[in-house]
C-alpha cells in the first residue's frame, strides 16, 4: 500500500517546459522559506502536478535541500507527483466507505489499472487516488470518476466503468475525421 515514490518518466520536452513554467511562477515570489507551500500550489496550478525538475528548481530558488521540498510535497494530499490522467479516479476511504469495503474497491482499481494510488497509468488515461469522504455516504462505497460520484462501486462496477470508457474511446476513434 505504499504510495508511489517517484513520478513516471516525463519526456525531455515536458521537462524543459516544466522548468520554464516553474521559473516564471517563481518570479512572483520572494526567496523566503515560508513561501514554499504557496509556491508549490502556484506551480501545481500551472503544471497540474509537481515534477522532479520543478521541485529541484524551487529548492534552488529558496536555497533549501531539495529533499525538504519533497518532504512537503509528499506530506500533503493536495500535491501530485504525477501528471494528471485524462480521467481522474478518486476512491473514497471515508468512514462509511471504509466500512462498506472501500479498500476492496481501491484494490480493484489498482489491479485493473495496474497502478498504485497516487499514480497515473503510463498512457496517461487514468490517475488514481483516494479521498476521505465526499459527502454522499449513503452511496458507499463511493468512487468519484471525473468529478461524478459513482454509487456502490464494487469490483464488478469497476469493470463496468472501465468498459464504458473503452467504448467511448473506440467510438471517438471510429468516427470519421
Amino acid at each position: 500500500m505504499t504510495r508511489n515514490s517517484f513520478p513516471q518518466p516525463i519526456t525531455r520536452q515536458e521537462e524543459v517546459e516544466a522548468k520554464q513554467k516553474t521559473r516564471r511562477v517563481l518570479k512572483g515570489f520572494t526567496k523566503k522559506r515560508a513561501n514554499l507551500i504557496p509556491i508549490l500550489q502556484a506551480v501545481q496550478r500551472k503544471l497540474g502536478y509537481l515534477p522532479r525538475i520543478a521541485m529541484a528548481e524551487i529548492a534552488i530558488f529558496l536555497d533549501i535541500p531539495s529533499v525538504d521540498v519533497y518532504e512537503v510535497v509528499t506530506f500533503y494530499n493536495q500535491f501530485r507527483l504525477n501528471p494528471p490522467g485524462k480521467h481522474s479516479v478518486r476512491v473514497c476511504l471515508g468512514t462509511a466507505c471504509h466500512m462498506k469495503g472501500g479498500y476492496i474497491t481501491l484494490d480493484a482499481w489498482e489491479r485493473r489499472l495496474k497502478i498504485k494510488r497516487g499514480d497515473t497509468t503510463p498512457d496517461r488515461e487514468f490517475d488514481l487516488d483516494t479521498v476521505a469522504c465526499v459527502g454522499c455516504c449513503t452511496m458507499a462505497p463511493v468512487t468519484v470518476v471525473d468529478e461524478k460520484p459513482e454509487a456502490k462501486v464494487e469490483p464488478t462496477k469497476v469493470d463496468g466503468l472501465l468498459l464504458a470508457f473503452e467504448r467511448e474511446k473506440q467510438q471517438t476513434s471510429e468516427k470519421p475525421q
Binding site: 505504499t2 515514490s5 521541485m55 535541500p65 529533499v67 525538504d68 519533497y70 518532504e71
Partner: protein, 225 residues
C-alpha cells in the same frame, strides 16, 4: 563557564550552566533512555519521547533533552510515571521494528538493546500487534547500507548531514506509517549527492545505517552517545 549543582536519583552532580539535563546525566554516568538527542544540536527535536524524567515541583514528567539544568534541581529518572511513558514509547517503536539482532551489524552496540535492558522490557512488543513497514533495503551506496525497516525516525542522521556536513542528502518524506528517512524522490543513496563521510552511520542509534563491510561486534561496547 559557571557550574550548577543538581541532584539526580539522590546523587549530587555538577553541570555547566545552560546544559540540557540529558547530557548532564549521561556525562555523570546516569543513563536515561534516548534516541533522538544529539549533544551538538542545541535545538532538540524531542521526537523519540523516551527520555522522560520527573523533576521535583513539576506535576508532569518532562523530556530530559529539552530541560535546562538549574541550581538545586532534584531529578528522579526512575519514577513510576516517567518509566511508564518511556516503556509505552519504546513498545510503540518496537511494534514496527524489523527485529533481527542475530544478523544485525549493530548487535550489542544498539541503543534499542540498551534501552530494553535499562527499562527491563523485551525487544518484542508485548501488547501491540507487530506491523512491519516492509520497505526495500538500500545497498546502492559504496560506503554504507540503509535499512529503513530498522529506522526509528530519530532524525539524527538528517541533522548531522545538514549541520555538520552541510549536504542535506537525507530528509523525512511521506506521511504517517509511510514516513521515512529518504533522499530527494526516494532515489537510491548511491545516486544521491552523498560523498560517504559516514557521519550519519556514526550517529544512527540502530542498525538502520551501517558501514558496508563492518563486522558484527561480539563484546559489549559503550554506545557513542
Amino acid at each position: 563557564m559557571n557550574q550548577v549543582t543538581l541532584t539526580i536519583n539522590g546523587i549530587r552532580i555538577t553541570a555547566p550552566e545552560g546544559e540540557k539535563l540529558l547530557w548532564a546525566a549521561l556525562d555523570n554516568g546516569i543513563y536515561i533512555p534516548n534516541l533522538c538527542g544529539l549533544k551538538e544540536n542545541t535545538e532538540p527535536l524531542a521526537a523519540c519521547r523516551l527520555c522522560f524524567v520527573e523533576i521535583q515541583g513539576r506535576n508532569k514528567p518532562v523530556t530530559a533533552c529539552t530541560e535546562t539544568v538549574t541550581e538545586r534541581m532534584v531529578v528522579d529518572t526512575k519514577g513510576e510515571q516517567c518509566l511508564r511513558l518511556a516503556k509505552s514509547g519504546f513498545e510503540l517503536l518496537m511494534a514496527s521494528h524489523a527485529l533481527d539482532c542475530g544478523h544485525c551489524l549493530k548487535n550489542r552496540n544498539c541503543e534499542l538493546q540498551r534501552i530494553a535492558h535499562h527499562l527491563r522490557v523485551s525487544l518484542k512488543p508485548r501488547i501491540l500487534r507487530k506491523i512491519l513497514r516492509d520497505l526495500p533495503v538500500d545497498d546502492s551506496h559504496p560506503a554504507f547500507i540503509y535499512d529503513p525497516n530498522k529506522c526509528v525516525l530519530c532524525g539524527r542522521c538528517i541533522w548531522v548531514c545538514r549541520n555538520h556536513v552541510k549536504s542535506g542528502v537525507f530528509g523525512f518524506a511521506h506521511r504517517g506509517f509511510q514516513r521515512r528517512v529518504t533522499t530527494f524522490g526516494d532515489e537510491p543513496m548511491g545516486r544521491s549527492d552523498c560523498d560517504g563521510c559516514l557521519e550519519c552511520v556514526r550517529v544512527c542509534p540502530t542498525g538502520a545505517l551501517v558501514e558496508r563491510g563492518a563486522v558484527p561486534r561480539l563484546g559489549r561496547t559503550e554506545p557513542v552517545y
